[in-house]
Chain length 350, copies 4
């Protein structure tokens, strides 16, 4: 299989190169970067190594001789699968030459929102390709596994939505919740990408934490709401993101009232039933999850705890793996009939 | 004025030495440590400097010749004010020789809870000195300023309660809120003290974040509830603390339903009215607070934002300053008729 | 006294606002920023507080009504002292209107190098104002105290040179060293300023350390060499800087061969003799210095240890205080006959 | 193959579980911990996952039913290879039952020093098993590959020695160096292990850096000296370690005079010749190495730069991988004729 990675020099692109580089079913990687075309991937990403042969990438990048290529060149290599790690409002447009020819897994937000008006509201721009939406599957693997198998365009979910929706969806689906869901989410700094902005400097973010863009002002509110409300239209969502000084990691604490009769056991049953066979969703029964436990892995660890009629849900992911590139490869595995865990880690780094 | 600092080698004791060391009204500091009695304060706390004269402490610690002393010795120096930075369940007991002679400002939880049964529930032990409670004032300076002026025993509030109650109290007082208050609080690691525990190691806490002890299982729930419910008995509290990799800093995000007719303007008016003359409470009108802004200062920065009938309150403090030692000195200033800001910083470190 | 701060929105400018804000001899502060002229200092630097009165700056910034002003406006206020926290190659030029009228303390490198050819070599540009050099004093306070008293232009030293030269100068002066001095210096990230560059992002610098620009390729090599060689022309300097994930802090480890007969006692005597009365230089006799001990203070802690004929010198500073803004205020204090420690901290933050 | 991991709950033990857990040639893992015997490995190390089947370890730990076992139990499982991640002065003793039966890879210092007197000097105790030393190979893979193939006892090198010796050995071997080698090494905090000590707390190590135990007082000086002096007896070693606030990572900057005629090209040739076929040693020709680039990988990246007759060598490793557990598995691969890179990563984490 040949895989192209559009935007290979950003954080999610770099993680994709690592995962695909050791994925046994990927024979060729086509690293794509408009700004770095012609440059060796080892120079744009020294973590890969300083020697193409020793890096293990010489064979896999033989098509491009170890270098980044332009989008035009990438098209000519006819990849089987295209991962787009490009910014939203650019991604869907730049993927145009691949639609209909390659399976496209779009890590941007361009194709995640099914309602163009909702997209407009969240992103302040027209939905980029509303014509494609009927063919797009929302790639939250554990919830749409069957749909993913048959789709050629997969909208890879955002990191906040992934960590938030996984614990909530089975409960919303079963009408176990009521009222407004309060989501307090803590994100590592890499979630903001590798952009040279003052507010992302080391000196600004270390020894610092804050909430930002609460409620409707954060773009992920629309994505989360879409997936909750389609399961239970009576629910509302209030999303409050925070930045914490982690390189990688995301912890979400959700509080919501439960319907009468719902207790921790009912919650456990719903989650168990949904995720029994999901290799990357782990249910914790006697402790709360920590982001460190899933660092570098494609796992989502979930715990729950009820006090009175308020349920607390705790979920953690690595924002760059299950929240982005890992889930993208999981989508590829599912789509191409490869074992779901192939090339992905269950163990967190220490 | 002579000030004794019981437990001068822990984080809050160390901060007290710094603040008192440059406080113009403190002529003598008596550093007390049972384990380090006889040792130079410069050896137990090298941040103070390597030369007693140059450190500026030679004069202020002349009574003890620059050394830590035992509790017994401290009693003989007849301090005007005693700061106890000892652990809860030890503090009130060890302060016994000072009650009735010195003003005692207890930074532990021993005297904060007015209802002994509630103390028992939170701390799993009998309240240490229920006999003293009628004479104790809860030292949340901005809310109990007048009481503090006349009290000889001041229970300095916890860090979580300080950051949580300041934005809530004026609103609860005015019956503007309803239902269960959801408090998501993020604390820097120094909040856990300077204890040699595996879970506090650098390797365990860096690149890691998690919720812990949610709801009734955290000891500060009782303290927060006490102060909220006395203002509006119809309210409930759900407290969910988190650890984030900061050395110092605390950010609290509170969500609560408002009573009909309450909007952001009403909230602003209540907060303005309460804190207009409070030098350390700053109300932000166009941005959310960041912990870095108050690092090292005695400030509490507060912002608010309403969506539908849910109010969000954002507050930040330095857990070791306004959340502990700074507020203790603010209490001393108020009690002794000294200008409230004396010796305390308004500006955060960079 | 009226003080202008040119470049008040960068890290060193922000620290200057804090120090001058609580300095008893400064009656007026004129914050200068070409890009933020007209904006409130509380909006460009929220750490100062959210209320001008409560911030304590209302009085001190009454001239500019709490706002940043342009350079032209600043000139009209006729400051007694001007601190320039502007970038090198801009600073001396933009200070032109103040020379001859105000005491100028230049925190940039523009006026540090006495030999224009050496400046050209280090900075790749002509020395900006070689005509001024005869009137300029190199403001390493402990070594040039008497010269500073009589000078109207003070070139404030770099952070690396400050931490490196303080332990070495007394030994070079006494011809106690020989050969090439090897300087391994570790700097916190704020040393690179508040520039929106990819390599300074949180995601690039946390969990990362590296050497950079070793030897002659680093600009501070020239400045260090100038001060060492003028004391002992037989010595050479090899400077190797490193970035470590600290917000603030600098640790320098220097190794050098000693002349026959020189031992730790001789080193101690030379350092004691030089720094006996220096309030900010602390000599450690039984432990090695840690950057945390001087965080936020204007101290330089020094230790030494000899093995065979190789002397090791260990020195730490806060790069933004003794390495920049604190030393600038120390220079002002000396120049204006104010007590040297006024407004500056000896105690490190915790 | 069956592999036992003694001391599976410390940092190096935990990394071993991860590497062996995905190593294709390891069929059984026997996790050994005296203090945690009987406890599930998922409870002692939650990073492995919360479900034994999903963790991928159910099969590999079937022998112990997913639990840690005691040393006695481990002996009965007759492992092919034993990794000892026990503390020095305990390790060799507790490995006794395995010598002669299993291949023992000792990650402690117990068997690294060939001269018992030198061990005594460095560790203050008698060498634990001097009788075994003739059968022990020093497991610095790139330098002793052939010896490792035939040995049943492998002393896995320390982290500081690994990063230091790799760049130096080829140059010492060729008599290219002279005088005293100055080694300034920066280590992440995990290098000190997972011990509940105050000086390793988050609050003590974040925003802090310092040198410690310089020269002969650090135990690794003896190990480094042994390997340098056996290649060129005219050389001396001065080793100066530093702690920097990294979780994982080590950067070593070495300075040394070269013999006449030696230049950067000669150095490059010697390194190229030695490491041409070493998959984990990467030579950088146009940039300096950063610890982040090798985070999580078994690589050692090396750069060199000469100024006058002083050579600078820059090397980085992940102290827990190439500096400990990764190299231990590399040793196992070599010893058992498995491909050297099997189960080990070349790519650093982002």
């Amino acid at each position: 299989m040949k895989a192209a990675v559009l935007g290979c020099t950003g954080y999610t692109g770099m993680i994709l190169l690592r995962i695909l580089g050791s994925h046994p079913d990927i024979k060729s990687i086509i690293p794509v970067s408009s700004s770095k075309a012609g440059k060796s991937v080892l120079s744009t990403d020294p973590g890969l190594g300083a020697d193409l042969d020793k890096s293990g990438l010489a064979g896999k990048t033989a098509l491009t001789r170890g270098c980044c290529v332009s989008l035009d060149q990438a098209v000519r290599f006819e990849p089987d699968v295209v991962f787009s790690a490009l910014p939203h409002l650019e991604s869907a447009k730049l993927c145009t030459p691949f639609f209909g020819k390659s399976v496209v897994i779009d890590l941007s937000a361009d194709l995640r929102i099914r309602n163009p008006a909702a997209f407009q509201k969240s992103y302040g721009h027209d939905a980029p390709r509303p014509d494609l939406l009927p063919s797009v599957v929302y790639g939250l693997c554990e919830l749409y596994r069957e749909d993913i198998k048959g789709s050629d365009i997969i909208a890879n979910p955002g990191c906040y939505p992934t960590a938030t929706i996984l614990p909530l969806a089975p409960l919303a689906q079963r009408s176990m919740l009521k009222g407004t869901i309060i989501i307090n989410a803590l994100s590592g700094i890499s979630g903001a990408g590798k952009k040279a902005e003052t507010m992302l400097l080391y000196g600004e973010r270390t020894e610092n934490t804050c909430a930002y863009s609460p409620g409707k002002s954060h773009r992920h509110t629309g994505e989360i709401t879409q997936e909750i409300v389609k399961r239970d239209a009576s629910l509302n969502v209030l999303f409050i993101p925070h930045l914490v000084p982690l390189k990688r990691g995301m912890a979400v604490t959700t509080t919501v009232h439960v319907q009468p009769g719902i207790d921790e056991t009912a919650v456990e049953e719903a989650l168990e039933e949904t995720y029994r066979d999901a290799p990357f969703v782990h249910l914790l029964k006697s402790r709360l999850p920590e982001t460190r436990d899933v660092w570098g892995s494609n796992r989502c660890d979930i715990a729950w705890y009820q006090e009175g009629d308020i349920l607390m849900l705790f979920s953690v992911i690595d924002n760059l793996v299950k929240g982005a590139s890992g889930q993208a490869v999981q989508n590829m595995n599912i789509r191409f009939g490869i074992e779901e865990t192939r090339g992905l880690r269950v163990h967190g780094e220490l």
